[in-house]
């Protein structure tokens, strides 16, 4: 099961949009120049090697005969996508590679030549500033169009860009030195179309990559080292980031769920015992009203009333602990005493909506159990009502509640985005939300894998509890 979860998590990570290397090198804000581009490429190549992104994805790959088996070595994700789409369309990797090389040649040349060099070449070094800027302008247009070809795979778009490049080059004498590269680009594109072998896409080929694959490396790191990789947003180990937030979130969720059961079960039992009474009607109405209150509204209201100098300042307005007191030297109980006030309002917000749900389930379950023959027998034997309820009926009525209990563990990993935002409580919910917003896939995948793992643990615990409350169940 965990293997399946890991496969799914890895698949999400590998097929996600965005390039981890781009994010890690902060390229989004980089200013370009030919020097910078090669510099960025060096760092990117080094990072790709470090992250193992230059390896094949899985132990084996199922490709078509047309596909290149080393495409993963191209560092730019969008370029890989372009080449992959061109392969799917034309099926002739040799010609596609020639076309790709022609683009790179033109790109390299246009980046390596400055306006001054071009003017010198056409013996116009006495040209005024204006003329130099015109050269620059043309050069920039060539660079832009060439770069965009690396990300273009539709015929009309490619043709327009190639025509545009050729027009610019043929229009100006000082761009003569680009003619060979431009002609080569145009020719290689025509060759790619003319020698199309689309049928190769229909011939499947299985390629074996062995243990030298990204998935193997990923799985090995998790299983042997507990290493989920590094976060794309700040380069920190994911496991370190998750652990602190997990502790914060899980203590809230566990206490909340414990309280929810502590309150809901007696209410459910009492409602079943006093079916149709004013107690059942009143608690039912109140609990359903609470159930219908959205968490963000209740949270804000709690802050408004109990953390606001306009009303009462009974609790802190947010955070998870006081920031002006050093808690690191304190023992668990001392620390908890400082942290507890920060947890009360979030816990209430987490908890109240569960009251109606759990108490109703207990009530229905209890009513069903109370109508059983063995309960009638117990009553007939003269046992007190409390003894019948708590000794004989409750254990059997708890079975559906145990099923609900399974949700606790994954919930501890999931956290709650809205409540953590309102109470400025940086737990797993906000971590997950930020990870999604920043395309931080190692974080997302780790949360996903942990959630799957916790669900399995929860089922295991639930199975043990079933056997505990109902001796008829055995494994």
């Amino acid at each position: 099961m965990m293997l399946l979860v890991s496969l799914m998590a890895f698949w999400i990570s590998a097929s996600a949009p965005g390039d981890p290397v781009e994010i890690l090198t902060n390229s989004g804000t980089a200013q370009g120049s030919s020097n910078n581009i090669s510099v960025k490429k060096d760092i990117k190549d080094s990072l790709r090697n470090k992250l193992g992104l230059n390896k094949p994805l899985f132990y084996f790959s199922l490709n078509s005969l047309a596909e290149c088996d080393t495409l993963h070595k191209i560092y730019d994700k969008l370029t890989r996508n372009t080449l992959s789409r061109l392969t799917a369309k034309y099926g002739n990797w040799k010609e596609i590679h020639a076309y790709y090389t022609a683009i790179l040649n033109l790109q390299q040349k246009s980046l390596s030549l400055s306006a001054d060099t071009l003017l010198l070449r056409c013996a116009a070094d006495s040209a005024d500033l204006m003329q130099k800027d015109e050269v620059n302008n043309s050069l920039n247009q060539i660079i832009n169009e060439t770069n965009s070809l690396l990300h273009t795979y539709e015929h009309n778009f490619i043709q327009t860009k190639i025509d545009s490049i050729k027009n610019i080059i043929y229009d100006q004498n000082y761009l003569n030195c680009f003619k060979a590269e431009a002609d080569n680009l145009s020719e290689s594109y025509m060759q790619m179309i003319a020698n199309s072998t689309g049928w190769k896409n229909y011939v499947p080929v299985v390629r074996w990559h062995g243990l030298n694959s990204q998935y193997h490396q990923w799985l090995k790191n998790i299983l042997l080292k507990g290493d989920f990789g590094i976060s794309y947003t700040d380069g920190q180990p994911v496991i370190t980031k998750i652990w602190n937030k997990f502790l914060l979130s899980s203590r809230l969720i566990i206490i909340s769920i414990f309280l929810a059961y502590l309150i809901s079960i007696p209410i459910g039992i009492a409602s079943a015992r006093r079916r149709g009474s004013w107690f059942e009607k009143t608690t039912g109405t109140i609990l359903f009203m609470l159930y219908s209150l959205p968490g963000f509204f209740a949270g804000t209201m709690l802050l408004y009333w109990f953390a606001n100098p306009d009303h009462w300042v009974w609790f802190p307005e947010g955070g998870s602990q006081p920031i002006d007191i050093d808690l690191s030297q304190m023992n668990f109980f001392e620390r908890f005493a400082y942290q507890w006030p920060y947890m009360v309002l979030p816990i209430i917000t987490y908890t109240y909506s569960s009251f109606a749900f759990i108490s109703r389930i207990i009530r229905v379950s209890m009513l069903e159990v109370l109508s059983q023959d063995y309960i009638r027998t117990a009553r007939a034997k003269g046992l007190s009502d409390n003894r019948v309820i708590y000794k004989h009926a409750l254990r059997n009525a708890l079975l559906p509640v145990i099923t609900l209990f399974v949700n606790i563990f994954p919930a501890a990993v999931g956290g709650s985005v809205i409540l953590e935002t309102i109470f400025n409580y940086s737990g797993m919910g906000l971590a997950g939300f930020d990870a999604i917003r920043n395309y931080d896939y190692p974080m997302i995948v780790s949360l996903f894998t942990l959630s799957g793992f916790m669900t399995m643990i929860a089922y295991f615990v639930a199975d043990l509890l079933y056997a505990f409350v109902d001796p008829r169940i055995s494994y």
């Binding site: 910078n36 920039n140 832009n144 965009s148 100098p309 006030p341 935002t421």
Partner: protein
Amino acid sequence: MAQIKNTPVFIILIAILTACGVKKRNLSENTAIIHIPVKPNGLHITNNYSGYRSFIFEFTQKTLLRMDIDSLKHVPVLAQNMPQISNDGKTYTFTLRPQAKWDDGSSITSEDVIFTTKVILCPLTNNPGVRGVFAAAIKSAHATDDKTVVFEMHDVSRNNLEVFTEMYILQRKFWDENNVLNSLSFEDLYKPETKTNPAYVKWFENFNNPDNSFKPEKLIGAGQYKLTEWQDESHIIVEKKKNWWGENIKGNHFFNKPDKIIFKIIKDDGAAYFAIKNQNIDATNRIATNKLIKLRELDYFNQNYQSAFVPQYAYNYIGFNCKPDGQKHKLLFTDKKVRRAIAHLIPIEDMIKIMYKGQAARQVSMVSPLKKEYNTELKLIEFNTDKAKQLLTEAGWIDSDGDNIRDKIINGEKIKFSFQMNYMVEGSGTKEMMLMIKDELYKAGIEMIPNPLDFSLFFKLAYEQDFDALMGAWLGSAAYEDPMQLWHTSQWAEKGANFCGFGNAQTDSLIEAINKELDDEKYLTLIKEFQRLVYEEQPYVFLFSPHAKVAIHKRFKAKIYSEKPNMLVGAFELINYSGSTQKPLTTQ
């Protein structure tokens, strides 16, 4: 059994009661708590470059020069005086302050400065986003003695001084104990063999390690405060150093009045609002406009805090794709008449009034009206639907089929004037502004489809030039702003920040001339001319500059500034504050 039934109620009541009662914050303590809305993505001295990193570095690190928040001029910090500039304008000589010392007592020397320069320029350092700025200015550096450093610059440029205000100096002995980089010359920095030299590769791998961005013991610097604690998403604490070397030096960059500064990270506006009400934050410049307006309605807030909406160096804009590919993105905005027509259709005054409650100022140029460079001759573009319609008709956009959407035959194809406008969902009130614009454009026969995107995707599409139009914002500063990055055609060609594709040979040459002009009068003429050209071409509709929202607790004597971060926290002087409030903090 009754006891059992009541047990949960008792437990919960006791638990809640024990939690009740917030420990009252001691407002007489000399600790300043500053609100920041996001944690910095790291505090690596060379490799991280978020805005909040600079805010915190103001206290923990030092540069040779810095922009003074008060006079808005460059002032020496680690340097004894402003640099001596050679006649050709290409050599900058700095003399370091004799008293400048690292935490271990050793002097800050020219060796440290040269080491820092090498690290910043070396391609093996993971700082691609800023290296280009330094590399474009600095050619090399050498020492003439322990306290004198000479920088050779590539060219004469107004930008040259700016690079020294962002170069935080590293301690060579701490980062390179074995002096590995000593053998690396400036000439060798860019050689291919440097990138493969195992000793250098290993050193830089260690230097680029993310631990150096987060672990307090790695975040050392020459500043007056030392970073002592970083609790992930909660807070960052810096504490005043004892006997700091700059204590007796006068100047805004040498203040160390608060004993401790805590940067409290609060992402949600509502949570920040309650934190200010409870006086748990001493200063903020990132509270939402509507929240500060609400706070200013409270007497006790006004008694406890000084607050202001201050003009700042930032602007919001609508950008057009002036050089689209013509296929995925149609040729809608290639004609400047069309771009001007759109400018006439944006209800900027209404947007300021409704969304910013009047707390924003209009501008028609990329230069802030706060600067003397601002071209005051450029008139605000008035909201005028009729004029817009006329311009659109002149540009050939007419409603030929009576569907209320204008169209035009371009390259034999009938194109409807319908486009997507990208905007960031994170921006408060942006959606509402988009709807206001959409309504006005429709009245003139243009269909605009708002396209909400998250921050990363918005910029990804912008840099890929994959958009029709977009609404964005740039944050500037009082310092010299090089127009190259946003407006030079090279930045369009290489997919830089000129994603709108503005520019031609004339504007490029003007930008280069502006950068090289050191004579202030001539510079003013050139920059104003450049603004005029941008105004005429209208690649952007400059919307407005939202005011910064600043609140500072009155227990500190402090001043509010236009330049970010709008306050001088080091100069916060604790005064004998009575704490008298109408709504004092209550303990239950």
